[in-house]
Structures are given as structure tokens and as C-alpha cells.
Subunit: 149 residues, 2 copies
């Protein structure tokens, strides 16, 4: 039996795939996956325009889907990979979910949770960033450049 | 034709009704209504246990429902009445929704948005609190007292 342990980069590429699905729908291109025990248990992309709903961020949908998969509210031993830094709302949700680890690609200097000044995540949550940063950022820049045309 | 303009207290009593529905379901008793042009356009109560979903706070559901009613993401000229101070997640969502006004009953010194140190709401949002504070607080105290038994 072969057992493959995928890398963080592998999962972030899956989040990037989700971000591109958002782009195809003319949504701000942000994608996310939740991984538990080396397996993707939830995947989602931003759908705020499509659903007319400010709460439909990729992370929020991924949290709900992952909890549904696990049959419990808490995302312990789970990692969220998301292409862009979570906003205040999403960091607040991740805090309630007590997620073990958050990995994001590129920072959001305007609306990212880190603009709040103090950490909004759960004290137990490990937060890392900068993975495939260029790919994640360029997707966002492309979207907003096209919007300004 | 008679046109009745209801008071803030009237709407907070409606939010309290929602909080009591949550209590009946053994959920943390928090209720919310969204009012636009003197009319309740959304009502919700906390369902995090029932739905196994940390994002199912009363405010989040009310935001989604109100946007659905209005056919647009932004809750301009809307007031959210909620029995307990919104948490970081909900304040973040209310920021995205650019809601005009938030009125809450009792503070949440542990998880309320004001614990973040700086305002998480939209700069245009007017935030008021203390309306029917005793009723809102006692409902919460009753719930947690029963849980400790």
C-alpha cells in the first residue's frame, strides 16, 4: 500500500484552483480548502456576488462544510489553506471553530484580520503565510485591474 | 390609514422572542431582527448546536436573510437589533454589509467585538447598547446557570 503525504504547497494549489473558479464567475478570486488527516474535507470559493451575501466568503463556506463532514463544530487537527488573508469576520469564525492551523497565501492590507491590531484567532491556532504568495496575489491583482478597465 | 412607527424597544422585544426560541432548543439564547423602513425584514436566533456550525449566530443568519429580502448585499438604512453584543465574526460581517445601525441589549465581556480594542464595525455604522439590558442579560445568565447544574 502506498501512502502519500501531500505538502502544504499541494493543498495551496488546490485552494488556488478554487480561487480560479471564483474568477470565472467574476467573483473576487479567493479559494480555500480544509485538510484533516492529509485529506481535503472541504473546498470552497468566494460567492458573495452570486449569492448576494457578504457572509459567503470562501473560508466561511469551508468552515461550515468541514464541520458538516466531521459531524462536529470544532475543526481540531484541521488546517485551512486560503489564498488570501482571512478578514475579521473569517478570523472570528475560525476562532470559534478552534481550528489548529491557518495557512494563507497573500496578505490583505486593507481588510485582513491582522489590521485589527491584535490577534483575532484562537490562542491555540497556528497562523502561517506567504505560501505561493505570488500566485495568490497576482490572481487578485488581475481581477482588480480588469475591474478598473 | 393608520401608520404606526414602532419604537426601538418594540424591536428589541422581538429579538428577545427569538432569543427565547433559541433557549427552547437548548441553544445559547441570542436573538436578532433586522428592520428596514419600520418593518422587520429578517429574524433569527442562534442555531450553532442544532446546525453543528459555529457560523450560525443569530446575526449572521439575519444578515443573510435581510440581504435576500432586499435583493442586495448591503444593509443600508437597516438596523440590527440583537439581544447580546455581536462577536468579532458578526461585527466583521456587519462591516461588510455596511449596516446603518446596530442596537444590542447586553455586553459580552468575553467574546464581544469591543474586546478587540478598536472598532470592527464600518465607520458609517452607528452602534448603541443597553436597550432592555436586564432582560437580555438575565436570559443568558439563566441559560448558563442551568448548564452548570
Amino acid at each position: 500500500m502506498t501512502f502519500t503525504v501531500f505538502s502544504d504547497e499541494h493543498y495551496m494549489r488546490e485552494a488556488l484552483k478554487e480561487a480560479r473558479y471564483a474568477l470565472e464567475k467574476d467573483e473576487v478570486p479567493i479559494g480555500a480548502v480544509v485538510v484533516s488527516q492529509n485529506q481535503i474535507i472541504a473546498r470552497a470559493h468566494n460567492l458573495t456576488q452570486t449569492l448576494n451575501d457578504v457572509t459567503a466568503h470562501a473560508e466561511m463556506q469551508a468552515i461550515t462544510a468541514a464541520a458538516n463532514y466531521l459531524g462536529g463544530k470544532y475543526l481540531k487537527d484541521c488546517t485551512l489553506y486560503v489564498t488570501v488573508e482571512p478578514c475579521v469576520m473569517c478570523a472570528g469564525a475560525l476562532r470559534w471553530a478552534q481550528i489548529t492551523r491557518v495557512v494563507y497565501g497573500t496578505a490583505d492590507d486593507k481588510s485582513g484580520a491582522s489590521t485589527a491590531g491584535k490577534s483575532l484567532y484562537h490562542p491555540k491556532t497556528k497562523v502561517e503565510y506567504g505560501l505561493l504568495e505570488t500566485d495568490c496575489r497576482e490572481l487578485m491583482q488581475h481581477f482588480f485591474r480588469e475591474k478598473r478597465k
